[in-house]
Symmetry: C2
């Protein structure tokens, strides 16, 4: 396989974009990535999206968006893996370029979730779980995560407030990100007083949905002639890429508080990159709920089992800490336009590696990791990128 480089990135703010359609959002991110890379054409388009069929009455999304942005004749598909759609689309695009089949590709993650009634959106999100054995019983997605969090607190003896640093950190970082949905800081008091959603998950444990799109432009590294892209940014390469699955329903897992698919895909990515967790400089994890931050940190080898919250309490996850997370706000505060999220994570890793994260720049950002999760730990895609 050829080594693959990312030479262009683009994103829209995560917001309620009532004035922009799905394809317009995607186009905005794609055009930004093309301008960033200094290219106006590619061989293939890979769209990460979960809900366009149910919420936007639009499928054939690859071709719709390719047509809209003028990628005439380029091949195009949509990749769906629930909230892991973006990371999965990135991986599909990377493999197509790595294989030699395509010499360039754009991966765009896009989702438009705020034009529909909240009940419709919640019902659509429940399609990430097992329709017959979870959703049909009335368990919404937040309810499933609440069950996991409750069990985890019981097993390991954590209090609810021990999870506060995850949300506080994400919001602090989002405050400096112009693309974040919730770009304001919160305090521990805010966290403690937040409205309960599905006990023990309160409003500040949960990430907000939103409309948004993020895009990257991929080429084989062997075709890159310089250490810098057209606009002078350092070229970033993909050092590790892996995806793994667990049972779709939480009740079928051996241990609902352990993300085995995260452990497996991270280990594969570490092996490919020849790296260990200690060599990862920062980690864009899938903090859809604060419990997921703890579980991801453990499964990826940054914390001992059951000790994820310790990294928050000790400050290790801060921008100047040992393993900064959610450096641009994460799902929690940048926002979670579900099928787009995985590509936002990749874009943010690249912002850090390029030194373009401005006030949130992590020092010594040489190697970054992104992890995108579909379902409650069911589908997990891990990528390691480096300068």
């Amino acid at each position: 396989m050829r080594k693959v480089a990312v030479i262009g990135i683009g994103q829209t703010p995560v917001s309620e974009h009532w004035d922009k359609s799905l394809k317009e959002l995607a186009g905005e991110a794609i055009f930004a990535a093309m301008v960033d890379a200094g290219r106006n054409s590619v061989d293939g388009l890979f769209v990460g999206n979960m809900l366009s069929g149910s919420l936007n009455k639009q499928e054939n999304l690859g071709t719709l968006i390719g047509d809209w942005v003028g990628l005439h004749n380029a091949e195009a598909i949509k990749v769906e893996a629930a909230c892991g759609s973006g990371g999965s689309a990135f991986r599909a695009g990377m493999i197509a370029v790595a294989s030699g089949d395509l010499d360039s590709a754009i991966v765009v993650g896009v989702e438009k979730m705020t034009d529909t009634k909240p009940t419709e959106t919640t019902a659509a999100l429940a399609t990430a779980a097992d329709a017959d054995w979870e959703a049909a019983q009335g368990v919404s997605f937040v309810a499933i995560n609440a069950l996991v969090m409750r069990r985890y607190m019981h097993e390991y003896g954590w209090k609810h407030t021990d999870f506060a640093p995850f949300s506080i950190t994400a919001h602090a970082n989002a405050a400096n990100n112009p693309n974040a949905r919730l770009s304001f800081a919160i305090t521990e008091t805010d966290y403690q007083k937040a409205r309960m959603i599905a006990e023990p998950i309160n409003l500040l444990d949960a990430s907000p949905i939103g409309d948004g799109a993020a895009a990257v432009l991929l080429v084989p590294f062997e075709n890159v002639n310089s250490k810098f892209t057209g606009n002078g940014s350092p070229v970033v390469t993909i050092a590790g890429s892996a995806s793994a699955t667990d049972s779709i329903a939480v009740h079928d897992r051996q241990d609902p508080t352990w993300l085995s698919a995260a452990a497996l895909s991270a280990q594969k990515a570490y092996d490919q990159a020849g790296l260990s967790p200690a060599q990862i400089d920062f980690f864009e994890l899938h903090d859809a709920f604060s419990i997921m931050s703890a579980l991801s940190l453990e499964a990826c080898g940054f914390a001992d089992r059951g000790q994820g919250p310790r990294l928050g309490l000790d400050g290790d996850i801060f921008l100047r800490g040992r393993i900064p997370i959610a450096t641009m706000g994460g799902l929690k505060a940048r926002g979670h336009p579900v099928g787009a999220t995985g590509v936002y994570q990749i874009v943010e890793v690249i912002q850090q590696l390029r030194g373009q994260a401005e006030r949130n720049q992590s020092e010594h950002a040489q190697i970054g990791m992104a992890q995108n999760i579909g379902g409650s730990g069911a589908t997990i895609v891990t990528h390691i990128l480096r300068k």
Copy 2:
């Protein structure tokens, strides 16, 4: 890229499977392919499906099905490209194996369309077209094809009955296929008297929807030690694979009666295989409507422009003709479970190449082609397979 071999195939009948869920259908086809290949595990699962989100309230389909069939930890995604989802998933699985990233993969196409009201299913199918500029105007999918057929008849002077051989051939072949939805022959009189659906398309110009699943098991050819699979079938390899797109809306095309994405993807596949149309022994084309048979034959170089119906009238498309099509019934009579169709086509090409098509066996079947279309010519995937 590594050459990829198909060593297992499986399919369910296309029918109204009210007693089987989406995952059960997919599982049935996957298990058949595994048994056929003599394997019970693979590294990755690629699901071709269009409508599970809107009709079956289920996304995260890759992981759901992987979990169901016991592919624990294997990576899994769903690929969507409207009615071209199956062919696109096959191509994604092939690239993953060809790249060296995976050493084995199952591609399954699955769709379940008959549990919902016909109006819901029709509305869901319209999401293959442009939601804003086609579907919102009330043009259903059959209506779009009717506009194309009317224009084509006007341009080239064909009468409606000139299209009869496409439907008659498909039904004659389906009569011998136990997996076909409409396994009965029809006469020219039946065709002429069929109920009008969207003039000039009548009931016998149109393919039936249905529930069904088809699966193939892929490995690198270099890992195949024999010319025969575990159960003694000849090993089939993929000689060409390409995908291309056109504008999503028909009204945006330079010529609505020319499938430019078919011409482009077929030419790429011919180039990869080092073949010309004259060397293709049979062709599983996307006969969702009889007009599409004519257009595909032309775009792929089997007929002159505007002369597709001539191949039907001259008998060239019959099982013993120059370029047999729809050898197991095609979309027209085997049935069109939309996201599964592209994988049914591949399975049927392999049945022919292996000499397992029984009463429909085409003589000298050494090289077969399959073409899967998403939207009204918007997304077109072409594969060439050989013994």
